[in-house]
């Protein structure tokens, strides 16, 4: 029996919605209205479908589920292969969860070319889901790279005053990284003759080749992540993008880098990952401290959050390249948590921006009096971003640091200062915008959240607290896949590391010690 292609349906449903929007005719007012509703209903339907996939997902199976395989380029052995495991499941969920929110967030804010805007978001959703589901090197690349097209248009058409500079910078930075990855994929393919991700994981290439390939993949993922020092496109892109564009950018697109590290770099180039891990951890620590300091002096709210994103992504790379089960889990959790929190923070900025049309912090102040509901939700996200226990941000950062601590105490010590700095700039932001002297009359005249805005922010707030208090539904699904990833990593490094057996034995106790911590942590989570 042929299994129903659920993942393909999920991936291409938004495209069908986009097609319907194209066919809408009539006067511009009704076209805009119909386009909005079509986009909203499509994306909600996709979210419901993804919920069904999550619920039927077998949490005990660390391998790929819902697999599909169709011949695409049979003469080269390249096929259309889709599938998800515990690592990609929640990125898919994040994409489907944030897209309806983005569409709702743009409901009144976008007045120009509404039809095209909605099409762009639906196409973007297809490409995001496709990126996380693709299990063939070249299929992944097609989705991964095609994301640039709608995002370029979203920033360029609906962006702010410096949109052209920002859109170009975003596009060319990412493209340069990606084409190097494409060459590495071709190299990998020409060496092994395989483009199937699952098979490639079992067959690592020779160690000397791994270094080059790892660096080429790194070029792409590090830009996407973004890691210091190739992060400079992010603040520009965030500041100029419309609110929903920033939300998707921070919420999902940045995660493609971390996902790429987990899906490709670690299992396929274990030896090189091991070799370059200290470098990446160093870069991560620099990112955490440096961009946190930069965030402290920002005047523009979006820029501050953008820099904080770079710092938070630093925790992700730190966790992933600690090469410990717990660190990797922390990295994944941090990505999901950051996807929710930073998305929500950009939405919060969008709320006041829609009212006052400025992102300068000094133009606000004391708005807690006239916007108490806003102040409440903003506080939840602010504290989540600062990593307060009880929010999802805490778990991600804590697990990442825990994983790092097992490998390198100094690194985790330095990174932990980033948490303090993170609290500092988030509190500063909150104090200057929400509290502080109430001097600006126009800021004090702003109405509080309307029901649509509550409808957007409430689900995010609930999610941030829910998975902060009870992360087990996530961790239970993530853990088997991470265990499997670690197992593949360990066997592969054994395969390619024959001559250096001694170091492997030295490294072993570290990984063993991570087990009890992981267990106790899980018990706590279930309580």
């Amino acid at each position: 029996m042929i299994e129903f292609p659920l993942l393909s349906l999920l991936t291409f449903l938004p495209l069908i919605g986009a097609f319907f929007i194209i066919t809408i005719r009539g006067d511009s007012e009704s076209v805009a209205q119909n386009a909005k509703y079509t986009a909203l209903y499509t994306s909600i339907f996709v979210f419901v479908l993804s919920l069904y996939i999550m619920l039927t997902f077998n949490p005990d199976n660390g391998g790929f589920q819902f697999k599909e395989k169709v011949e695409w380029l049979p003469s080269l052995g390249i096929s259309y292969t889709m599938g998800i495991d515990g690592i990609s499941l929640f990125f898919v969920m994040l994409s489907t969860f944030l897209t309806p929110i983005c569409i709702l967030a743009s409901w009144d804010a976008v007045k120009l070319r509404v039809k095209e805007y909605m099409i762009a978001f639906l196409v973007l959703e297809t490409l995001m889901i496709g990126t996380f589901c693709a299990l063939d090197l070249f299929l992944f690349y097609v989705f991964f790279e095609a994301v640039l097209i709608p995002m370029f248009l979203i920033i360029g058409i609906w962006g702010g005053p410096r949109k052209i500079y920002a859109s170009y910078k975003f596009f060319l930075y990412t493209l340069l990284g990606s084409v190097l990855m494409l060459l590495a994929m071709l190299m990998l393919y020409s060496q092994t003759g395989i483009s199937d991700v699952e098979t490639l994981m079992q067959n690592p290439v020779a160690a000397n080749l791994q270094y080059v390939l790892f660096l080429a993949f790194f070029a792409s993922f590090a830009v996407k992540m973004p890691m210091w020092p190739v992060h400079t496109w992010l603040p520009d892109a965030h500041v100029e993008a419309p609110t929903a564009g920033s939300v998707i950018l921070a919420g999902v697109l940045l995660k493609m880098g971390g996902y790429g590290f987990l899906r490709f770099s670690l299992p396929m180039f274990p030896e090189a990952s091991d070799y370059f891990a200290p470098m990446i951890m160093t870069l991560s620590v620099i990112a955490i401290i440096y961009t946190s300091l930069v965030a402290l002096v920002q005047e523009d709210m979006k820029k501050l959050i953008a820099y904080s994103s770079v710092a938070h992504m630093g925790f992700v790379t730190l966790g992933i390249f600690s090469m410990t089960t717990i660190g990797i889990q922390g990295g994944i959790f941090q990505m999901i948590s950051h996807g929710l929190i930073s998305a929500a923070l950009f939405l919060c900025v969008g709320v006041v921006y829609d009212r006052l049309h400025t992102r300068e912090m000094s133009r606000y102040g004391g708005i807690v009096k006239n916007m108490p509901k806003y102040a409440t939700v903003f506080m939840i996200f602010m504290l989540g971003s600062a990593g307060l226990p009880g929010t999802s941000g805490f778990i991600g950062e804590f697990l990442s640091l825990l994983g790092t601590y097992q490998v390198n105490i100094l690194m985790s010590l330095l990174a932990a200062t980033g948490m303090i700095l993170g609290a500092a700039y988030m509190l500063l932001l909150y104090r200057r915008v929400v509290f502080g002297p109430a001097e600006n009359r126009d800021a004090l005249a702003m109405p509080d959240l309307n029901s649509r805005e509550i409808g957007i922010l409430a689900p995010l707030a609930v999610m941030v607290i829910l998975i902060g208090v009870y992360p087990a539904p996530l961790t239970s699904r993530i853990e088997p896949s991470v265990d499997r990833l670690m197992a593949i990593y360990q066997t592969n490094i054994g395969k390619t590391l024959e001559p250096k057996k001694a170091t492997l034995v030295d490294a072993e106790p570290l990984n063993d010690s991570s087990e009890p911590i992981s267990l106790t942590y899980k018990e706590q989570a279930h309580d």
């Binding site: 003469s75 070249f138 640039l148 360029g156 052209i164 859109s167 493209l175 084409v179 190299m187």
Partner: protein, 480 residues
Amino acid sequence: MINLPISIDAIIPEITLACGAMFLLIIGALSKRIITNTLSYAAVLLLIFTFFLLVSLNWDTSISMNGFFVMDSFAGLIKSAVLLSMAGVLALSTGYMKREEIVAFEYPILVLLSTLGMMVMVSANDLLSLYIGLELQSLALYVLATIRRNSLRSAEAGIKYFVLGALSSGMILFGSSIIYGFAGTTNFTAIAEAFSANPDMKLGLSMGLVFLLSGLAFKISAAPFHMWTPDVYEGAPTSVTALFAIVPKLAALALMMRIFCEPFMGLQDMWVQILWVLSVASMLVGAFAALTQENIKRLLAYSSIGNVGYALIGIIVGGTGGLGATLYYFLIYMAMTAGTFGIIMSLRREGASLEKIESLEGMSKTHPVQAYVLAILMFSMSGIPPMAGFFGKLFIFESAIAGGYIYLAVLGVVSSVVAAYYYLRIIKVMFFDEQVEELQYETNVPRDAVIIVSILIITGLVLMPEPLLIMTQNATASLF
């Protein structure tokens, strides 16, 4: 069938085309009225008819006309592409020529004659038939470049093209005579045999090959022999520019593939070095020189130089993989260019044809469909998936990596990122800039049909990239 001393089966399409062109010429000359449009449509039909004749032929390798003429599946595929794209170019240009009041009835006939030249080039199995084909197509193209007689720029473009083209033809002739001097024959098969029998002639043959190659590099406008391209593209009427950009380079590339694979296979270590330089120089010139262009035709000229650079990568790699990738790449490039020129020819601003990139400002507001089509074409040109242009680049780089030319691949992708900048610029002008003046889109059924076919190929290829790959690889397999 009449029994002739030589078999003419393989050249029936060429004979048909030649006779048809003569017939149309007589009709045009005798007609009292100017019937350019009718002749153009007749020419399109003739091209399509010739295409069907060609398809009905046996494509197994056969050499006829005393070793002058070879017919194989490689020639079959290239000739089919030439015929169909020429029909497309004619369909693109009829409306434009009428509007620009270029009423010379010779236009479609010259197009037919250049097509005939290209078909002879592609099937050449002898240095003489190579030269005859090359000159036939070149002479027709020189006249086409100057077809707008009362325009100074068109005349200048034509003269420039003629002088440099004549120089390159001279070089090809000179190279051929050196090769004849050493090998004692002009037949491709015989040259290869002579060389393998007497490897001492390597130096002499490579002397001749260098001249031959320089001449051909002129024809495909590979850097550093590209100087004529931007000026001629800019000066010639846009419909002729479209023709220059789309078809002749395919025939010249095919000719290069054939001479490298047959007579000069033994000199591979020599010509690979030359092509390496040509390829890298073309990619870099195409990427960097286009950055500051204001004229859209000049921009496309540099873009075509860059694209030839990528196409050459496949020839350097060689084998069915490499040559197949080159063909794949170039066929897609032709489809993209046809669509792009179609849109450009349809647009007018203040009653004049479009020349400046800035003139596209705000096109997405007034003509959203056309703007999106052009945007898709530009994304495809810059090699962004899922457009067809990506697959062209993918197979080129795949062959380069498989063949061990990693530096070439790295240079290729880096210059493709630089090139993406100016393709994006067109999108930026259309979508991000505000409109200043009104832009008109002129509907013309044959032209719009070509644009639609082009965009369907560009967006639909992602669903089935396989058949074209098989086709190109099978075609190139007949060269070995």
